[in-house]
C-alpha cells in the first residue's frame, strides 16, 4: 500500500448523516469478483436517474442533477465530507472500493461506523473525525463553492486555504501504518512465531476448538 503523509485536495460535501454502505455500493455490484473499477457505481441510486447494473454502460445513464457529488464545482474532489455514523450497515468493502475508485483519498466525518472505518484504512483511505462545530464550519465553507484542504497525517492537522486549521486524533498504530504504507498481513506475518506459539498453547487448553471441520 502507498504511504500516506499528507494530501491536498478539493472537498465534496455530502450533507447527510447515517450514510449506509448499501447506498454507497448497491447490491448488484457486489456480484463482481474484482477489487477495483467500482468508481462509476459509488452512490449509484442517488447519482443516476436511470437504474444501473454491472452490464449497463454508465455513459448511457442520466445523472441526477440534484445529487451533491454531481455538481460541477465538486468534480475532481478527493476529500469527502459527511456527518455522523458514516458507513453504517453492511460490511461490504465494495463501498470503500467505490469511494476510492471515484478518486477520494480522505473522508472527513463527525463519526464512522466500525467496520467501514477499518475497511477504509485497509485500502489506504484516511478516515478522520473532527468535532461537530468544525464539520459544521467545513460545510458552511464548501456549501456553494470549491474549497481546498490540506490534510497532514504527520502533523495530525487539517488546514484550510485561509490558514485556519484543526488538529485531529488518530490511534498511533493506524497512523504509523498509514505513514509507512504498511500492509497488515505482512506486518502480522512478521509475528508468525508468536502466532504459532499461541496456537499451540490454545489448542492444549481448548482442544474442542481444533476439531477439523469435515
Amino acid at each position: 500500500m502507498a504511504a500516506f503523509v499528507a494530501h491536498q485536495g478539493w472537498v465534496a460535501p455530502m450533507d447527510r448523516s447515517n450514510v449506509d454502505t448499501d447506498a454507497m455500493m448497491p447490491k448488484q455490484y457486489l456480484k463482481c469478483i474484482f477489487k477495483s473499477g467500482y468508481g462509476d457505481w459509488a452512490f449509484d441510486d442517488w447519482r443516476y436517474l436511470d437504474a444501473g447494473d454491472v452490464d449497463v454502460d454508465v455513459s448511457t445513464r442520466r445523472k441526477n442533477p440534484d445529487f451533491e457529488l454531481n455538481k460541477t464545482i465538486y468534480q475532481g474532489a478527493s476529500i469527502l465530507l459527511s456527518r455522523e455514523n458514516f458507513g453504517c450497515g453492511s460490511s461490504r468493502e465494495h463501498a470503500v472500493w467505490g469511494i476510492r475508485d471515484m478518486g477520494f483519498k480522505v473522508v472527513i466525518a463527525t463519526s464512522f461506523a466500525d467496520i467501514f472505518y477499518n475497511n477504509c484504512f485497509n485500502n489506504g483511505i484516511l478516515a478522520l473525525t473532527l468535532k461537530p462545530e468544525q464539520i459544521e464550519r467545513l460545510f458552511e465553507l464548501s456549501g456553494d463553492k470549491a474549497m481546498s484542504l490540506t490534510v497532514n497525517l504527520q502533523e495530525k492537522r487539517v488546514t484550510l486555504a485561509n490558514g485556519e486549521f484543526y488538529s485531529f486524533e488518530l490511534e498511533e498504530n493506524r497512523r504509523f501504518k498509514m505513514l509507512n504504507g504498511l500492509d497488515n498481513v505482512a506486518t502480522t506475518l512478521l509475528k508468525k512465531q508468536a502466532i504459532q506459539d499461541f496456537e499451540k498453547q490454545h489448542k492444549q487448553t481448548h482442544p474442542y476448538y481444533f476439531t477439523p471441520l469435515r
Binding site: 455514523n85 450497515g89 485497509n122 497488515n184 502466532i195
Partner: protein, 478 residues
C-alpha cells in the same frame, strides 16, 4: 480490581500479542460465503501466501442463490455473474480443502443459520465472517464479528485479526416479555433506544430475565441485529439453554471432549463485579409489537402508534434525516401504522429464518388466506435443514395453503442480490434486518417486523397488532 465482562474474558483468552490499543487476536472459526471471499482468496494467491488453517473454515453460498427450482442446481441461476461468484467459491474451497455446503447440499443455507445449527459456532470462540450480521453467533457466549474482505484475507493468511479492544455496553432487560412480543420486537425496541450509532466502539452484552428466558433461536435474533445499533459484536452469557442447544450438534464436541468443554463454557459469564462502560436498562413489559417506519432500523415505533412528527426529532440534523426517510417511504407524519397497506411480505433471513420463526408464521396463517391485495408473500427458510424440519412438521403445507410461497434456503429478499426483490414503490413487511433505501430493490420500501407480525400483515393486507390475532395450534408442537 474489578471483575471481567464476558467480552473481556474471551478477548483476553485470544490475545496473541500487543495491548488493548493495538492487539493481535487469534480467530477460532472463520465462516465464508460467495460475496466477500473471492477477492480475499485472490489476494492470498497474488502474494504467494497460503491458508493458515483450512480446517477452521466453513463455507456455504447464500447471498446470491436463487430460492426457486433448486433441483436445477447451477442451471437455475439467471444471473451469470452471480453464478461465477458461486463457482469461484467452489474453486477456492476445493483448491484449499475447505468444507463447503454447496448449493445442493441439504445443509446449505444462510451462514448465520448454518454455523449455529451445525455446532460450528461454539461458546468462548472468536468467530468472524465477511458479513456484518456475524454478531449473530455471539448468542453462544462467543466473540463474533463481521469483517471486510481485506480482513477476510488477513484471517485466511494468519488466523488472526489486528484489533483495538471495544468498550463494554450492557443492555439489561428486566422482567418478562408480554404475550405476543418476540425477540425481534425486543431488539428493534433496543435499537430504537440506542440509535444506529449508539453501540459504535462497544461490544454489547444482552442480559436480564427477558434475555435468559429467550430460546436459542430468539437469542440469535437479538445478537444478529447488534450491528444495526453500531456494535460489531453482541454477546449473551452461557447457560443451560446454550448447553441444551449445542449438545449433539454435528460439529459440537462429543464424549470426554464435550465434558471438558462444558466445564470451561460454564465460566463464560460476566463476573458479578464486572464494570460496564455504559448500560441501557429496559423494562420488558413496556415493549409492544414493533414496526419500522423509516429507512434506518432505529426509526421504529409500536404498531399501535403513528408515523412520528418531524418536530419530535432531537435536532436539525435528525429532522433532515427523518424528512428524507418520510419522503423515500412515501409517508406522512401522523399516519397510523396499522393503516399502511402492503404489496409484499418477506419472511426469512439470518434474523428470522429459523424453525421457531416458521412455526410462528404457521400459527398465524393456518386456515387463513393471504389478502388479495398482496402481490407476493413468501417464506424462505434459513437453511436446507430448517426447510426439512418445517416440512417434517407439515408447516410448508399450512403456509402454502394460506397462499404464501415456500422457498429454498438463501438470503433472498433480505439483500435482494438474487431474483427476489421489490419493484420501485412497493411496500413490504419484512422480517429481515435492514430497511435502508434500495436494500430490497431500488425504490422499494421496507418495514421491519417480527415473523408473526409479517404473517398477520400478509393475511390482513396491512399491519395489525399481533396481540389481537388468534393463533392456531400446531399439531405436536408446543
Amino acid at each position: 480490581m474489578s471483575g471481567q465482562t464476558l467480552y473481556d474474558k474471551i478477548w483476553q483468552s485470544h490475545l496473541v500479542s500487543g495491548d488493548d490499543e493495538a492487539a493481535l487476536i487469534y480467530i477460532d472459526r472463520h465462516i465464508i460465503h460467495e460475496v466477500t471471499s473471492a477477492q480475499a482468496f485472490e489476494g492470498i494467491e497474488l502474494a504467494g501466501r497460503s491458508i493458515w488453517r483450512s480446517d477452521s473454515i466453513l463455507a456455504t453460498p447464500d447471498h446470491q442463490v436463487p430460492t426457486t427450482e433448486r433441483e436445477k442446481g447451477k442451471a437455475g441461476f439467471v444471473d451469470k455473474l452471480a453464478l461465477l461468484q458461486v463457482t469461484t467459491l467452489d474453486d477456492n474451497c476445493d483448491k484449499n480443502n475447505i468444507v463447503q455446503f454447496k448449493l445442493n447440499d441439504q445443509r446449505q443455507g444462510i451462514v448465520h443459520v448454518v454455523g449455529p445449527e451445525q455446532g460450528a459456532s461454539l461458546p468462548g470462540m472468536t468467530i468472524v465472517c465477511g458479513d456484518s450480521h456475524s454478531s449473530t453467533h455471539g448468542a453462544f457466549a462467543a466473540l463474533a464479528q463481521g469483517i471486510g474482505t481485506s480482513e477476510v484475507e488477513h484471517v485466511l493468511a494468519s488466523q488472526c485479526l489486528q484489533q483495538q479492544k471495544c468498550k463494554n455496553l450492557r443492555v439489561l432487560v428486566n422482567g418478562c416479555l408480554p404475550l405476543g412480543i418476540t425477540a425481534k420486537d425486543l431488539i428493534l425496541y433496543i435499537i430504537g433506544k440506542l440509535g444506529t450509532a449508539g453501540g459504535t466502539g462497544y461490544a454489547i452484552e444482552y442480559a436480564g430475565e427477558a434475555i435468559e428466558n429467550l430460546s436459542m433461536e430468539g437469542r440469535l435474533t437479538v445478537c444478529n441485529m447488534t450491528i444495526e445499533a453500531g456494535a460489531r459484536s453482541g454477546l449473551i452469557a452461557y447457560d443451560q439453554v446454550t448447553e441444551n442447544y449445542l449438545h449433539g450438534r454435528p460439529y459440537a464436541p462429543k464424549g470426554a471432549m464435550w465434558d471438558s468443554a462444558i466445564q470451561y463454557w460454564r465460566t463464560l459469564v460476566s463476573d458479578a463485579d464486572a464494570v460496564f462502560d455504559k448500560e441501557l436498562i429496559i423494562d420488558a413489559k413496556d415493549i409492544l409489537p414493533q414496526v419500522t417506519w423509516g429507512t434506518k432500523p432505529d426509526q421504529v415505533v409500536a404498531v399501535t402508534s403513528q408515523v412520528p412528527e418531524i418536530s419530535s426529532a432531537k435536532d436539525a440534523v435528525q429532522q433532515a434525516d427523518w424528512q428524507k426517510a418520510l419522503s423515500y417511504m412515501s409517508l406522512n407524519s401522523g399516519t397510523a401504522i396499522s393503516s399502511l397497506s402492503l404489496d409484499q411480505v418477506f419472511i426469512g433471513s439470518c434474523t428470522n429464518g429459523r424453525i421457531e420463526d416458521i412455526r410462528e408464521v404457521a400459527k398465524v396463517v393456518k386456515g387463513k388466506k393471504v389478502a388479495s391485495t398482496i402481490k407476493r408473500a413468501m417464506v424462505v427458510p434459513g437453511s436446507g435443514l430448517v426447510k426439512q424440519q418445517a416440512e417434517a412438521e407439515g408447516l410448508d403445507k399450512i403456509i402454502m395453503a394460506a397462499g404464501l410461497e415456500w422457498r429454498f434456503a438463501g438470503c433472498s429478499m433480505c439483500n435482494a442480490m438474487n431474483p427476489d426483490s421489490l419493484a420501485s414503490g412497493e411496500r413490504c413487511a419484512s422480517t429481515s434486518n435492514r430497511n435502508f433505501e434500495g436494500r430490497q430493490g431500488q425504490g422499494g420500501r421496507t418495514h421491519l417486523v417480527s415473523p408473526a407480525m409479517a404473517a398477520a400483515a400478509a393475511i390482513a393486507g396491512h399491519f395489525v397488532d399481533i396481540r389481537q390475532v388468534e393463533l392456531a395450534q400446531l399439531e405436536g408442537i408446543h
